[in-house]
Amino acid sequence: MNLQKTTEKTGSVMVVGAGVAGIQASLDMANAGYFVHLVDNSTSVGGLMAQLDKTFPTNDCAMCVISPFLVEVGRHLNINIISNSEVESLEGQAGAFHATVRNDPRYIDIEKCTACGQCRQICPVTAINEFDCGLDLRKAIYIKYPQAVPLAYAIDRSACIGCGLCEKACLAEAISYADTPRRTVLNVGAVILSMGSSVYDPSGLDTLAYGRHPNIVTSLEFERILSASGPYKGHLMRPYDREIPEKIAWLQCVGSRDINRAGHGYCSSVCCMYAIKQTMIAKEHVSTPLDAAVFYMDMRTYGKDFDKYYTRAKDEKHVRFIRSRIHTIEPLKNGDLNIRYVLESGDVQEETFNMVVLSAGLSPPPSAIALAGRLGIDLNAYHYAQTADIRPVNTSREGIYVCGAFQGPKDIPQSVMEASAAAASATETLADVRWTQTKVRELPAEVDFSGQKPRIGVFVCNCGINIGGVADVPAIREYARSLPHVIHVEDNLFTCSQDTQEKIKQVLVEKGINRVVVASCSPRTHEPLFQETLREAGLNKYLFEMANIRDQNTWVHMASPAKATAKAKDLVRMAVAKAAYIEPLPQVMLDVTNSVLVVGGGVAGMEAALGVARQGYQAWLVERGHQLGGMARQLRSTWQGEPVAPYLSDLIDAVHRHEHIQIFMETQVVHVTGTIGNFTTTLVTQDDEGKEKSTVIPHGAAILATGGHEYAPTEYQYGAHPSVMTHLEFDVAATKQDNRLLSAKLAVFIQCVGSRSAERPYCSRVCCTHSLKSALWLKTINPDVQIFILYRDIRAYGFRESLYQKAREAGVQFIRFESENPPVVSLTPGDPSEPNSSRLSLTVTDHILQRPIILNPDLVVLASAILPNENKKLFEAFKVPANADGFLVEAHAKLRPVDFASEGLFLAGLAHYPKTIDESIAQAKAAVSRTMNIVSKTAIMVGSVIAVVNPERCAVCLTCVRTCPYGIPRIDPEKGHAVIAAVECHGCGVCASECPGKAIALKHFTDEQINAKTDALFQAA
């Protein structure tokens, strides 16, 4: 590291906190030309997400989706993971910060540790397993979880008694008790804070009896109970006596929306959804019936596909949702728990459950609050980083950005989005020092082995005693010698150790080995390392095959050494057989067009175009209408009260003035060709005389920000009476100081107009917040106005809850209605001679009184739904999918929220889902960051494990075209055969398996190679 302090701008950045947000921000920046220091105070990266079993609303396995990201960040040449470390101070200013980082001793050399776990087995000291939330114990020497990155153990010094036994057991000699705290000064141009959240500890809430009975667990504990790698190996049991529960209760808002006892006035945003997820997963986990009951105040399923998830839980999985307040939990002798609760009606009820899950809210980790103090950034009342809606990822100190749950409680996709947004914002001012600090690995030219027979070298690993202690490694080695094409064999104590790698390199060159087989651990963790060694020795990295004789052999057949040895021989024989058929897969460089096309001139589109331009690249901004600004033109203020109009006019101005932005008004996209890095799009512009002019734009990536619009209600006398208006119309009227608003004596807001209906089974997310904000505004201009908000659930998520609280304090009255029994608005005819003299009358059944109430409002505001804009042709031109509601579908609901499945295409704003303006801005910036991974490069590498077509055999039958899950293959009419763009192919091999003419081969997994392994297995000696 460069230890000298400078005042010049640097192309390095620092990310603090290596949860999913920190990882995303790091990858985005490292892939866009910056060197990233990723600092975390834990022993490994992954954060809270690594502890989760499944993720909503797709029920994807959390570890499955995060682990490729962990591996990528762990091996990235331009990401320096600094684990076990705290940032002590930050001097300097934006562009040239000097961060002092204290690296606490781990007592284990990360480079040497092979994570074999021998030390853990013999360590005599136990400690609480924090990863399993204390449901389990670990040793004083430990690894957080089996997939951890860095994959290395650490000694918990507070538990360790210093007996030295682990050192005796560690054959890799990775233990170093002499390790001491080290301080490093890092020169960085920007800092991103992504310290995440901790989970609220309900011990303080006396009535819930948490900590007094093991069958009362927090949601995170329950997550570990459900996890297959958790304390009960995924068998759902209650901790006290391991009985399979028959009835489980989930208690919502524990440590959230609770000022009195928890001091947390905000909504934690994620608990409703994770509780629903847990009910569904829990039911899946047991073969016996499970009664799941969720006790809640408002069900806040406000995100994309969340309401459908809620409905599914209710209607299909028969989860009981009980709107109530909890009085007490009383543990019973047999381990059951008696819950007393109060219904909306005021009735007190009791019910006994076998287990209780407390849906604990989120709160900022104390270490994060302390760090924020050291860095001098402003925190809000709840100790989260303070941000403005129009700059959602900027902290109060220039050059320091924030993302993820440290900015406010939020779910994974929102965190990931903000992470990319923070990456884009942090690097905006560093565009001119891009690629200045990044490293490039210097490699020798690849040796051409074409025409040579296979000369295979087999390296068998002892892995300390992990393999050698069970299987007979010398016998395996000698067996390998007898196999065809094998010209060199050896075994090593640790094949992955630095010195062995050097030795292997020498041997490869000396003996002219052209295929390498390593029999050791798993390719999932170690293949990249060995491939690097091959590459350094001048071999193409695909001339490599692994036999997994540890994770899938000696570790699981410890009790049968003879069988383990025999199986290892089988696996080595299979690997050697495939190795004889493997071939080098050269990668091809493709030039990249360094510009981005942005479709849609609303806030998201303009922010995206401006973001691209500020990164130093050309942006083409296309708007089909005649003015920029989209829906924001009607909005009065953000939810925090920042005025929208000045922001919008500044933004429009900036977009117009930026030299790197070219705007195409009244223009439509008609045709798109090409792939990631090189698209060609045809635009057609309508000029003033209605003549059409077409322009062809080359671009490396595209962002679709095609926006949405407000639903035009057909209900509640909308259109029949001037005082019935939508909430956007209310904003416009408010701006104009409309008398309908100023003179109103009784105003009624009706929620969910056109949302959460059979026709539109989604929540429009923004309406609750908007109505609360509008009601409060109405109260400020006219304190005497009486206001009713008629709602189904108040979904004021996150800090927006404070508006709900203020509204209640201000005397706004809330009446809840059921979807089956909505309010009825009718017109009472007035003086027939006078227009508009008819009066409004409204009937709604009060949820507490259970009786109809009649109101005579002089203002009715409808929180009408947000609909995506109609863009069927545009979406078809880009071949991007929309869901049943018309919103664009992202590549992955959790970890790729701004990407399309088709590479090089991104999305932002309302076209993705209804969202507030700060969320739209964040998503637009995120999309910019994602495009930088492409357009900041001069070329991209393509090739490797991809499908290739043999034209001779192709019958142009279209099977590949029809069966590819990504729609990549196409028939080239000129060439007369199918073509699969190397740059787009994901490498799954479905086409190769479907092709009736066997014209398609998936490289590195050809029929020949797969069959060679099978044949080898069964020709056992």
């Binding site: 055999r953 019958a955 039958c957 029809r962 003419g997 066997k998």
Partner: protein
């Protein structure tokens, strides 16, 4: 395209029961496109036959090859060097294939591995439907692109029979009544009156009924 179905395994096994060494020949034409006789299906059938022989403990060698087309002598010629090495040859082409093969190699036995079913196309991946009966006199223009000869169970040419039931043919719920479709389309296009013209009785001499057919293009025939 000619559409075919694989014969049942037992039927194929019965044909080759007395053979110790057979050759499977696929075709890169229609049968590859309809996923029944391309290289992949050749491999599948070959493996299946070998497994069957192994289960029975019977010696059997199965070799696999694919011809560009089995309906052209030049391609068929390519089997010449190997064709006599086998006890029999199994063709996975349409019915044309085994015949061209046996004409070229009269000394060898040729067996069909597929049943040739119809002329048609894929309405979705994995589903093929009949569209043409090869009658030799196309009258589709009367019916806006729909052929009652191939697609009406009775090949009626002047309207549906009494078995048309809510758009389906009485033969099977899976078969659309083509006359229902014709009438709908004509109605939509406001040309229902077209159907008032009687389509005259068809000359079936050009169809199979006139005996085996030959097609000659004098300008193409090589004299030399």
């Amino acid at each position: 395209m000619i559409v075919a179905d694989r014969k049942s395994l037992s039927e194929i096994q019965d044909m080759v029961r007395d053979c110790r060494k057979i050759l499977l020949v696929g075709c890169k034409g229609c049968v590859t496109v309809c996923n029944v006789g391309g290289l992949k299906e050749v491999q599948v059938l070959a493996a299946t036959l070998r497994i069957a022989a192994k289960i029975e403990g019977r010696p059997l060698i199965v070799e696999e090859t694919v011809l560009e087309r089995q309906c052209d002598p030049e391609y068929v010629e390519m089997l010449k060097p190997v064709v006599d090495n086998f006890d029999a040859v199994v063709s996975m082409a349409c019915g044309v294939g085994p015949q061209f093969l046996s004409e070229a190699y009269p000394q060898q036995r040729f067996f069909p591995a597929v049943n040739t079913t119809f002329f048609g196309g894929a309405v979705a991946h994995g589903i093929w439907e009949e569209r043409c009966a090869g009658c030799g006199t196309c009258i589709i223009h009367y019916f806006d692109g729909m052929c009652p000869v191939a697609r009406c169970s009775k090949s009626l040419m002047n309207g549906p029979c009494g078995g048309s039931d809510h758009g389906k043919c009485e033969i099977s719920r899976n078969i659309n009544c083509i006359w229902d479709m014709i009438v709908r389309k004509k109605t939509e296009q406001g040309r229902l009156n077209d159907l008032l013209d009687i389509v005259p009785a068809k000359n079936w001499q050009t169809a199979r009924d006139g005996g085996p057919r030959q097609s000659r293009r004098e300008e193409l025939i090589q004299n030399g």
